[in-house]
């Protein structure tokens, strides 16, 4: 279980997160919604330790993570699949996936490669191709596959639907559900609130750096305010 309490993050003088509280329980999909600049990506970066909070606590299974480096966080099974996919364009699909397993010491990388190909058969067809030549949707699949290679307990997904054809978005969301069923908790950051609420168990709505609203995804879908602000009526 991942738990953030009263987290404050500053960028210079900008107070980006103002007392954030949230929990990701084991086995669940939790979505984090909100408009541009609400602090969604900042929250993920703080969790993966790219950003240091000024105040607050951050625990994974009861242990504080605030002393850990980004690579330690990866070793502990919290893996952040960043916004805009950020695959390594000049490396092949296979090399990208191997990078995902970089912090692992065990020898089962080959097996896990096959597991990723089961989720994303398209990647197997393109295994020797440079990642930069893939379509946006394929790159997103590769980015998720790369994160899976690190054996996440919790997968942090930052806007997996961004700039991707709607038909592929559907496919990717189905796969996210499958990954979750197979035992990985997911923290999903999305602008596409409709899709996110459709697959998640619980959701938080972030506004100006703090949680404005939270609840079971089903309830939020029926909440008038959420419908007006995020679901387009």
């Amino acid at each position: 279980m991942l738990k953030l309490s009263d987290v404050h993050v500053y960028y210079g003088h900008v107070h980006a997160l103002r007392g954030l509280n949230m929990t990701v329980e084991d086995g669940k999909i939790v979505s984090l919604l909100g408009g541009n600049g609400a602090g969604k990506s900042t929250t993920l970066k703080m969790i993966s330790r790219l950003i240091q909070p000024k105040k607050g606590s951050y625990e994974m299974d009861g242990q504080s993570m605030l002393k850990d480096s980004p690579s330690r966080v990866v070793k502990k099974g919290i893996i952040h699949c960043p916004e805009n996919r950020r695959v390594f364009p000049l490396l092949t699909v296979e090399e990208n996936l191997k990078i995902g397993a970089y912090s692992r010491k065990d020898k089962n990388v080959k097996e896990d490669l096959e597991k990723v190909f089961l989720y994303f058969p398209r990647l197997k067809e393109r295994v020797k191709q440079k990642a930069g030549t893939l379509s946006g949707g394929e790159q997103q699949m590769l980015a998720i596959g790369r994160s899976l290679m690190g054996k996440p307990k919790i997968l942090l997904l930052d806007e997996p639907s961004l700039g991707i054809a709607p038909i592929l978005v559907k496919e990717i969301f189905e796969i996210i559900k499958k990954i979750n069923k197979d035992g990985t908790s997911i923290l999903l950051v999305e602008q596409n609130a409709n899709m996110a609420l459709g697959i998640s168990d619980y959701a938080y709505v972030l506004e100006n750096g703090h949680i404005a609203l939270e609840g079971h995804s089903q309830d939020l879908r029926n909440n008038d305010e959420v419908r007006r602000l995020y679901l387009g009526g």
Binding site: P82, E95, S147, G150
Partner: protein, 288 residues
Amino acid sequence: MQIIASGLIFGCIYALAALGLVLIFKTTEVANFAHGEMAMITTFISYVFLSKYGFPYLAALGLALLFALVFGIVVYVLVMKRVQSAPHLNQVVLTLGLFMIFNGLAGLKWGYQPTSFPEAFHGDPFKLGSIFISTNEIFTVGLTLVLMLLFFLLFRFTKAGLGMRAASQDIMASELMGIKVSGVFMGAWAIGTALGGIAGMMTAPVTFLSPNMMGEVLIIAFAGAVLGGFNSLPGAVIGGLIVGVFENLVSYYVAPELKIVFTFLLIVVVLYIRPQGIFGGAKIVKKV
């Protein structure tokens, strides 16, 4: 033929120096202006092993390279790492400062009087086909080829090499995949400095050993690196070789004094036609 062959031999030295520059630039995005001076210090250290302790050449070379690896790490950890989050231009200016410091320190310690530096192998040039070549020159070319092969294998087939290639493309994504970026940077500085050191030891028999010996070599290595695209390792090597040959042709057919002028003229022309350099691919736009 002879002019081209000699050019290629000196081009190997430029290629080694350029390779070190590009390696550091590719991973850390800092153009290291102190590269030549760090090479010069490494060369002085090898000279100390050679003359003061009487080590055989290859042993001195090995020890000096070991020194260069550590030297690179020390410069990174003590200086560059602290300013890693500063704008790149500031970091580059800092390397200019290091240039001055190393040059001054070497001058204080060893003086500015040029001293002769031995070659790896002695012996007169002999005829190979239609060109004259000495054992030492064969050694230079051979060493360059071996190092390049080693590099290729390292980058292509090892986990550390994969990590370096990833870090040079996207630092943040690499960190998120669990790569220790400061470790990769440290490796780049260590290996880059060692490559420069080898270039220094190859240069010293020709230019004599002095604190200013690497000035011109560094400028030309930069030129070769830019010619090759500055973020391509094979580009650095080929750029270095082209500059070496071109420079030798100019020395022979025009005038030795004008070789630098013409070399830069060549670069202006190449960049005019191909602004990204010969091997520089399309720039990867980083989204923050």
